[in-house]
Subunit: 340 residues, 2 copies
DNA sequence: CTGTCAAGTGGTATCGGTACCATGAACGTG
DNA sequence: CACGTTCATGGTACCGATACCACTTGACAG
């Protein structure tokens, strides 16, 4: 009766206000908004009209107390490279497609920060977590296990058994394949540039794959590995270090395109021809890699697809599928360009 | 009495379970966790022990029904360039520092998507919104106004009056300054490359600033503007288009470093010397700009700082400060490098 | 000894949806 | 025509933490 006039300075809209105005019970409004096919067409129309007119937006917080929240929590490393950004985009798009929200926390490289981030996420009782943390500490794993929330890890899929399910590639295989590829093109002395591993399995496996390939190839070249920060400046530095350590080095395989880019720029600065004076390969197939001149030979990984796939699998897990311990391999591809 | 043994297959932990085990009331546990100074040291210690032992994580969803949620919603454009990524990092860090969570939605370039995204965010009754949408449709603004949620816009600060408060720079001034800077270095024919404006005021103001500078300088050069997709490929294309349109063009000012990078690579491909054959300038001072050889002259904007500052101001607004209509100018800086 | 006050703690109502079960109407079937 | 079944809708009881107010206790001033 007084529901019309008191809008100007009355408080926030609730479902019951809409219900009153539409002449139905609150629960019917709820159904109209979340499962419209359970409401008769006329009622539905009437309710939606009121919702539209009043600009009502249901309170997800309240709704998430009974039903589990349509939220997926995720921890991502700092978005320094566009690979991660693609992945976030993939997760974001997939979430949107399913009507979920993405709760994003950025990790750094410390275990405490990771633990705190996980607690913050779990506090929201998300449907699941997608983790791509660097550390993956034991404490963190235990916390998640206790909470009983499904987890999809975007990670190295070789060797380790995931908590529930992992999406990723074998970084070992990829690095092995690239090293072999370079050897196949006739390069003899093959350097390797890594970023600080910090307990990150993906990075470690790349190095292991490289080493295995060198061993299998029977190349005797001493230590041609170096570790630098994950910036293009790091790549430039790596070039200097390695060429100084062994002037006859023929190719440098960088564990990230960002490093490869930096190395290419350093060559330009020195006036060195690529790949004649020295060849360079990267990892990730960032946009950069194809656009740099000369274009960079690299390993393509479908990061966007990994993000989407992670969300899809997570929702399956949450819906009851066990799939425990499985790994989903999204594969990789060697992209041969001009730089090596 | 039976609270100890039934843990194995009992349901989730609630605050009252902790309370029972610690021999206090639930509300005391609440206080112990959110305002520890209101609880006596002994009680606090006992409660924290139980919390620790059980691995209890309070349910934020429930807590957010009475008190407003410690959540900030944000809409960001696709993370195509690292500038946006820096900004997200800034917001994320600032949120973490204040104990807030970041609810992230990625926009695209359509008004409907934006409206949907805003509804999704508002459904969580966030403390506030940080918006950096491309469209900023009228419908979206109205929705936010109705919800009565404070908003910080990361945007162009010239001309437009923000809903509550805007953080950003004057893109007009920045583009004007760069154009003048280039003219000051002796360049006569100055081209301009923009990405599709799509109603985005920041991009528009850059173009307007450029045009104003050209007019003020009294340069009569015809149309040396072109619009290309925001990719490095777009930058390469722009170089081709402009040099074909006017072979005597001397410098190209790109409204994004990504474009400038593409243009530089295209020059390399053609064997053109930079800046002798043609000079290039960018916008944003992405990591790329300083690392590319030759290093790119550009406009530095502190994106990370903008993100942090947006969160800080938003929390002030939420705490009651009005600050309506104000704009916070974080400023810019012309970074003179080798490319122009 | 009484009154005032602060600190520490608890009881209760409440935030706003939705799961669960009940109800009544309309329809078809034997 | 009695009965089962489906469809549309409503009533009620929560979900789990916290705001609000009340209460107890001890310290201290007058």
């Amino acid at each position: 009766m007084s529901s019309r006039q008191n809008s100007p300075e009355r408080k926030k809209l609730r479902m019951r206000d809409i219900a009153a105005q539409a002449g139905v019970a609150p629960i019917t409004v709820s159904r109209a908004l979340s499962s419209p096919d359970k409401v008769s067409p006329e009622t539905l129309k009437k309710i939606l009209e009121v919702v539209q007119k009043e600009g009502f937006i249901p309170n997800n917080v309240a709704g998430s107390m009974r039903a589990t929240a349509k939220v997926i929590g995720t921890i991502v490393p700092p978005l320094i490279n566009s690979g991660i950004a693609d992945q976030v985009q993939g997760m974001s798009d997939a979430c949107a497609a399913h009507g979920y929200q993405l709760l994003l926390v950025q990790g750094d490289f410390s275990a405490e920060a990771e633990d705190k981030a996980i607690m913050a996420l779990l506090g929201w009782r998300p449907k699941g977590l997608i983790i791509q943390a660097f550390v993956q500490s034991k404490a963190a794993r235990k916390r998640i296990a206790t909470a009983g929330v499904p987890v999809v890890e975007i990670s190295e899929i070789r060797g380790r058994t995931p908590m529930n399910l992992a999406v990723g590639i074998s970084n070992f295989d990829a690095a092995y394949a690239m090293t072999q590829h370079l050897a196949g093109k006739g390069y003899k002395r093959i350097g390797f540039v890594s970023t600080p591993i910090h307990g990150n399995d993906r990075l470690r496996q790349r190095r292991v794959g490289y080493r295995k390939a060198i061993a299998d190839l029977g190349i005797d070249q001493g230590d041609l590995e170096v570790e630098v920060p994950i910036t293009s400046k790091g790549g430039a530095a790596a070039l200097s270090i390695l060429t100084e350590r062994d002037p006859s080095i023929e190719v440098i395989f960088c564990s990230s395109d960002l490093l490869a880019f930096g190395a290419v720029q350093e060559c330009r600065r020195r006036g060195w021809a690529i790949p004649d004076r020295i060849a360079i390969a990267g990892f990730g197939d960032m946009d950069l890699a194809s656009q740099t001149y000369p274009a960079i030979t690299t390993v393509r990984v479908d990061r966007y697809g990994m993000g989407r796939s992670a969300v899809d699998h997570l929702l399956s897990l949450a819906a009851g599928e066990t799939g425990s311990g499985k790994s989903v391999d999204v594969g990789f591809e060697i992209i041969d360009r001009e730089s090596a």
